[in-house]
C-alpha cells in the first residue's frame, strides 16, 4: 500500500501517458503538459505501485552508457575544436584553466575554424565529399528503385527470395566487398581483361585509383540501404490504386509517374539519406579505391589527427563535417521517430 502512496498515484490522480491503448488517435500526440510530480510513468496507470525503481534502472543504465560514451566524448571534441594547438601531450591548450590561480578563465579560439576557410585543402575536400556522396546517391537511386519495384511487385514467395538475394551480400564483411573491387578494377584486373577480350578497348584503362572506382565502391556498398526503405514503401502501396488509375485511362508509365512514384517518395528520401549521410564521411572506400588528388573529408580528418597530430584542427574538421550533415541528420531522425511511433 505504501508503495503507491509514494508515487503520488493516490493523492493526485495520475495523469495518463499518451501510450495508453484507448487514447483516441488524434490525441496520442498531445504534449504531456506540466505535471506536479513528473516521474517516469508506465502507460495507463500501471505505474502507481511499481515503486519505480526497476524502471529507473531500465532507463538509467543505457542512458548513463550513452551519456558517457556518446555525448561526453562529443563534448570533448567540441572543446578541443575551440582550443589552441601546441606541441605537447595532449597537443592542445586547455579550454578551462586557472591562469592566476583563483578565477576560472575560458579560452576559446576560432582559429581552427578560420584556417578551415583559409586553406582550400579543407574546402575542396568538403565539396568533393558532398559531390561524390550526391552522385553516388543518385546512382544508387537509379539502380535501386527499379530493383525495389521488381521485388515489391513479385509474388509473395519470389519476393522473399529476391529480398534475401539483395540482403545477403550485406552480411559479407564490408571491407572484403570493397577489396573485391581491387582485383576487378586493376589495370590487369578482370574488367580490363574482359573489355580487351571483347574488343571494346585495346589498351588497359586506368580505373582503379580514380573517382570512377570510388563511385563504384560506394554504390556497391550502400545499394542495399537504398533498396530496403524503397521496397518497404513500395510494398505498402495499395495495388488497387494502380488499377484504379489504369481503369481511369492512365497508361503504364503515367500510372508510375502519377501514382506509384509520388507515393513512394518517403522511401526515396529515407533511402537517399541512408546512402548520402555515411557516404559523405566515408573513409575506407576512397582510401582503397580512390587517389590522393581526390581526397574526401574523412581522410583529411584522419590525417590531421594521426599524421599531423593536430587535434584541434581535426576536431574542427569533425565539427564542420557534422554541421554539413546536420540538416540531413535531423531529417533522418524525424523520419525515424515517425516510423517508430506509428505502428
Amino acid at each position: 500500500m505504501s508503495e503507491f502512496l509514494d508515487s503520488g498515484g493516490l493523492a493526485t490522480p495520475a495523469p495518463i501517458g499518451p501510450g495508453a491503448a484507448i487514447v483516441p488517435e488524434e490525441l496520442a500526440g498531445l504534449p504531456p503538459g506540466p505535471r506536479p510530480n513528473d516521474r517516469l510513468r508506465f502507460p495507463g496507470n500501471m505505474l502507481h505501485s511499481l515503486g519505480n525503481s526497476w524502471q529507473r534502472i531500465m532507463v538509467a543504465v543505457p542512458f548513463g552508457w550513452m551519456l558517457l560514451f556518446f555525448l561526453i566524448p562529443f563534448a570533448i571534441v567540441l572543446k578541443i575544436g575551440f582550443a589552441d594547438s601546441v606541441v605537447a601531450r595532449p597537443p592542445f591548450t586547455p579550454l578551462l584553466s586557472y591562469p592566476d590561480g583563483d578565477h576560472l578563465a575560458l579560452t576559446v579560439t576560432w582559429d581552427n575554424f578560420a584556417s578551415l576557410w583559409q586553406d582550400d585543402l579543407y574546402l575542396r575536400a568538403y565539396l568533393n565529399s558532398l559531390k561524390i556522396a550526391a552522385i553516388s546517391t543518385v546512382f544508387c537511386l537509379l539502380l535501386g528503385y527499379p530493383m525495389a519495384l521488381a521485388i515489391a511487385r513479385a509474388t509473395r514467395q519470389t519476393r522473399n527470395i529476391m529480398l534475401l538475394v539483395v540482403v545477403l551480400p550485406f552480411w559479407t564483411p564490408f571491407l572484403l566487398r570493397v577489396y573485391a573491387w581491387l582485383g576487378i578494377l586493376d589495370t590487369n584486373g578482370l574488367l580490363n581483361r574482359f573489355l580487351q577480350w571483347a574488343h571494346v578497348t585495346h589498351a588497359p584503362l586506368q580505373m582503379l585509383y580514380t573517382p570512377f572506382a570510388v563511385y563504384v565502391g560506394i554504390v556497391y556498398s550502400y545499394l542495399p540501404f537504398m533498396i530496403l526503405p524503397l521496397y518497404a514503401s513500395l510494398e505498402r502501396l495499395d495495388r488497387t490504386l494502380d488499377e484504379a488509375a489504369a481503369d481511369l485511362g492512365a497508361k503504364p508509365f503515367a500510372v508510375f509517374r502519377d501514382i506509384t512514384f509520388p507515393l513512394s517518395i518517403p522511401g526515396v528520401i529515407a533511402g537517399s539519406l541512408l546512402v548520402f549521410i555515411p557516404a559523405v564521411g566515408e573513409y575506407v572506400i576512397p582510401d582503397l579505391l580512390g587517389n590522393a588528388s581526390n581526397v574526401m573529408i574523412g581522410r583529411v580528418l584522419y590525417d590531421e589527427f594521426f599524421s599531423n597530430r593536430d587535434w584541434p584542427t581535426a576536431s574542427a574538421v569533425a565539427i564542420a563535417l557534422l554541421l554539413a550533415l546536420v540538416i540531413p541528420m535531423i531529417l533522418f531522425q524525424y523520419l525515424q521517430a515517425k516510423q517508430v511511433d506509428a505502428p
Binding site: 498531445l30 495507463g44 500501471m46
Partner: protein, 394 residues
Amino acid sequence: MAETLLRPDTNLPAGGVSAAIPDVTEPWRDSAAKPFIEIRGVSKQFGTFVALQDVSLKIYKGELFSLLGGSGCGKTTLLRMIAGFETPSSGSIIIDGQDMTGVPPYERPVNMMFQSYALFPHMSVFNNVAYGLKKDGVARAEIAKRVDEALALVQLRPYAERKPHQLSGGQRQRVALARSLVKRPKALLLDEPLGALDKKLREATQYELMNIQDKVGITFIVVTHDQEEAMTLSTRIAVMDRGQVYQVGRPIEIYEYPNCRFTAGFIGTMNMFEGVVLGLEDRLLRVKGKEGGDFLLAHPGAPVPDGTPVWVAVRPEKIRLSLTPVAATQNMVAGKVKDLGYFGGTTSYRIDVGDGRLVSVNVTNADRALALRADWDERVFLTWDPASAVLLTE
C-alpha cells in the same frame, strides 16, 4: 435468468424504479439491495478530451451487464477502469465493498477477456489458462484440476497441449474465456467478446456465453457496440455516448421506453414528431404537432408542463398503414409512399409526410390488398395507438 428476460412486462413505466415489491431477480428495483460493483461519479480526461463525464452505475451480483455505445463513447475506458488499466480523473470504483482506487490491475478481484483475446502465443492452451493461478501461487495439483475444469466448461479439454495458433477463432475465444474464469474473479469484464467472430458463430457463442454465466454465477460486464448482441445477452444495458450514460435499463425498457432522443435513435429505428404539450386529457397527454396534427399519448412518468417543446416517438412496427382516410383527429398523418422494400412476410415503407420528412413504417403483410396496392407514390394514412408512442423531452 432467461425467465427474467422473456417475461412480458409492457406495462412497466419508464425508469421502472417505483416497484413496490422487491424482486430477487431484479435487485436494481430494490433500493435496499447492495450493489456489487459501484461506479461513483467517475470522470476521465485525456488532455482536453473528456472520455467519461460523471458516470455513476450500480451493478448487482450475478448480472450480465452491457455497456453499449458507438466507438469513442467511453465504454472501453470505463471497462479498463474497472480492470485497473486506467485511473479515473475523479470519482471512485467500488468492487464488493472495497474501494479500488490505487489498487493495481494485478491485485484486483476481477479478470478481463480482451477483444483480441491476448492469448500468449508462446504458451500452450493449458499454460495460458494456468498462468493466472501460477501467479497466485496455487499448488500444482490444484492448478491442474482447476484448469481441467475450466477447459471442460468451454469444451476444450482435448486441446490443452495446443498452441493458440493451432486453434480456430471460436476456440481461441473460448480459451480466453476459460483463462479469465479460472481465477474465479468477482466479476468478468468482456471487451467486445464476440467482435472477432463471424456472424454465424457469433449467434451460437452468444447463447453459450449466457449458459456459462448461468453455470458459474459470476457477474459479467460486457462492452459491445452491437445492439442486438446487448439486447439478447444482457440483464441490463447502459447506453453510452460521448462519455455519458444516457439510460440504464432492461433491454425491453431501453427499446420500448427510451428516455431520451439519443437512446431512441440509437436502438432500432424511431420516428419522431416535434411538438408542444397542450395538456392532459383523460390521463392522456395531448401534443400539438409542429407540422400540424394532434398527437395523444400515454405518459406515466413525471408530469410535463403545458407549452413544453417535446418529441412524440413511434417505432415503425407500431404504425398502421391504410389506403383510405381514417376517422381520427389525432395520431394520424397522411403521406406518400417514397420507398418500399418488400420482404415477403413484411414490407418496409418510407413515407414522405411533407417537406421531405420521412417516416419509416414496417407492416406485416396480413392484408394482401394493402400489400398489392400501396405502391410508389401512393397516398397513404398512418395511425397508431396512444399507448404505442413515447414522449421525449430532450
